[in-house]
């Protein structure tokens, strides 16, 4: 593309807020059962992830993988891809994220989640809680109908933000493999929302910032490299 400096971010946005938020209205009304199931799966995953012990880690990862699969097929592929030229490039990344979660679940020692009481745990829980319980209602402040709510498990933004929270709650260095896709998505989405003049654009950016800070503090303290005490549980 020549004269690239003369282009702004807005030049690459080819849809209006009206059309964007109608995506969620159509998704929520057409696929209400799947949308509800995905939200419930997210809440169950949240509950499993903050428990002490090893129980439920595989289930949590499988539920998260299914959620990412549903977001890819339901939201990205059918609804968002026709209006946004960049989405086809993201679909393989979302599928990869879901497959990575399945791989982590299938390992002999699955990725482990758990409350540790440190900064990352707090940030992780806050991000998940916002993604599941707050994000759907943020649109009301901007004057949108509740039927256009972006729900964790079906809409990409709250799912990515919540997933970053789950990654912060996890242990071990391998968890960072799951980081790039939701992190890049949050940056992209924040830019999209900013161009559309939506105040909610700040939320994905704050999630990115908290994740990077939490990750850095975890690496510095080495807390996630220490092994968990044996709780006698199994998966």
């Amino acid at each position: 593309m020549s004269e690239w400096w003369s282009y702004s971010l807005a030049d690459f946005l080819l849809f209006s807020p009206r059309v964007y938020y109608r995506l969620f209205e159509t998704l929520n009304t057409t696929w209400w059962l799947a949308v509800t199931a995905a939200l419930v799966a997210g809440i169950i995953t949240f509950g499993l992830s903050i428990r002490h012990g090893n129980r439920g880690n595989r289930v949590a990862l499988v539920l998260l993988a299914m959620i990412w699969g549903w977001v890819t097929a339901g939201f990205l592929w059918y609804y968002y891809q026709p209006i946004n030229w960049i989405i086809p490039y993201f679909i393989p990344a979302f599928i990869t994220e879901a497959l990575l979660m399945v791989m982590f679940a299938a390992r002999r020692m699955p990725l482990r989640f758990g409350w540790r009481g440190d900064f990352s745990s707090i940030a992780g829980v806050v991000m998940i809680a916002i993604a599941i319980f707050v994000y759907p209602f943020v649109g009301l402040i901007e004057g949108r109908d509740l039927i256009q709510a972006e729900l964790f498990g079906s809409a990409a933004d709250p799912t990515a933000i919540g997933t970053l929270g789950f990654i912060l709650l996890a242990r071990g260095s391998w968890r960072w493999v799951l980081l790039p896709v939701p992190l890049v998505w949050c940056v992209l989405s924040s830019g999209t929302l900013w161009v559309m003049d939506q105040n909610i654009a700040l939320l994905p950016l704050i999630a990115v910032w908290l994740t990077v800070l939490g990750g850095w503090m975890d690496q510095k303290s080495g807390v996630t490299r220490r092994s968990l005490p044996d709780t006698g549980g199994d998966d």
Partner: protein
């Protein structure tokens, strides 16, 4: 003194419709069309052939990119209906505009309007232009386009000869080139000077007037039709003027909104063939077509329009 802005005009008309026509089946814009004589829309010649086309077209950038949403697709079809019923013909799109081409095809199917449309699209690729044009034809469900343009001069060394070959083979009626936001002006001028273009598409409105200096006179001299994109700066210009009083002289040219004033400013330039405003509202599409009727501003009034809008 007219006090109506574009949205106030729409609100007022909607309110009148709501009170006067509660039992009516047709939407207000359709009733309004039914109740008026067929618009005597100004037509302008395409210099290379002399064919006359209505002086206002319909753009699809952003407004028609509504994906698979059935409600919004029907709304777009309503816009097309109002546009055709108002006497419009040229609809413009691009492979760059997401689902817009597909939505236009849906609208043409629904309205059965393939014989009414002046089909205008673009080729926008550095790879296989022929393949992209074939996809575009599938979206529109149309065998032969009236006009295809090289979008933003992308891949022009391959795509322009391709379009001229199609024209020579009788598979295309007109060939054009587009730019927007005043980009690649030097390249565009070179193409206009050295190739037998039928159309050129540029950004022009009472605030973005650089094309008046050289491009528009060159188009006149070379006999190239001019399509004007971003007549309302993608809607920003109308938003800025919302709530402002129309100047007194607007009454002289039978203008009832800022949108109509801007369109009359553009249409009245001798080099301009057809501005292509985009809209999501059937009422706006009709209002835009009304801008191509009645008296037009002379040079003096055009300067006053630009001056008034420039300071607001």
């Amino acid at each position: 003194m007219f006090l109506l802005g574009r949205r106030n005009f729409l609100r007022g008309a909607t309110a009148i419709g709501a009170t006067a026509g509660l039992g009516a089946i047709k939407p207000l814009w359709a009733q309004t069309l039914d109740n008026r004589a067929v618009l005597d829309v100004i037509k302008k010649p395409i210099p290379s052939t002399g064919e006359m086309i209505p002086a206002v077209g319909l753009g699809s950038w952003i407004t028609f990119n509504v994906g698979n949403d059935p409600v919004l697709r029907d709304q777009c079809a309503n816009v097309m209906q109002a546009f055709f019923d108002g006497g419009g013909r040229m609809i413009d799109s691009s492979p760059m505009y997401g689902s817009s081409q597909d939505v236009i095809g849906y609208g043409l199917d629904k309205l059965g309007a393939r014989d009414r449309v002046f089909s205008t699209d673009k080729v926008w690729t550095s790879d296989d232009g022929a393949e992209q044009i074939a996809e575009t034809s599938d979206y529109w469900n149309i065998d032969k386009f009236d006009l295809l343009q090289v979008h933003n001069l992308v891949g022009i060394n391959d795509n322009l000869p391709l379009l001229f070959d199609m024209k020579d083979a009788g598979r295309l009626r007109y060939v054009g080139v587009t730019t927007s936001h005043g980009r690649r002006t030097d390249d565009l001028i070179a193409v206009m000077k050295n190739t037998p273009l039928d159309f050129v598409q540029v950004t022009y409105n009472p605030v973005d007037r650089k094309v008046e200096d050289y491009l528009l006179p060159l188009a006149l001299e070379r006999g190239i039709a001019v399509i004007v994109n971003r007549p309302f700066q993608g809607g920003h210009l109308i938003d800025r003027l919302e709530g402002e009083k129309l100047p007194d002289f607007a009454a002289e040219i039978e203008v009832r909104s800022w949108a109509q004033l801007i369109l009359k400013y553009l249409i009245s330039h001798p080099a301009v063939t057809c501005p292509i405003p985009a809209t999501t509202q059937p009422m706006h599409a009709m209002e835009n077509m009304q801008a191509a009727t009645g008296p037009m501003p002379d040079d003096d009034m055009r300067q006053r329009i630009a001056a008034v809008i420039g300071v607001l």
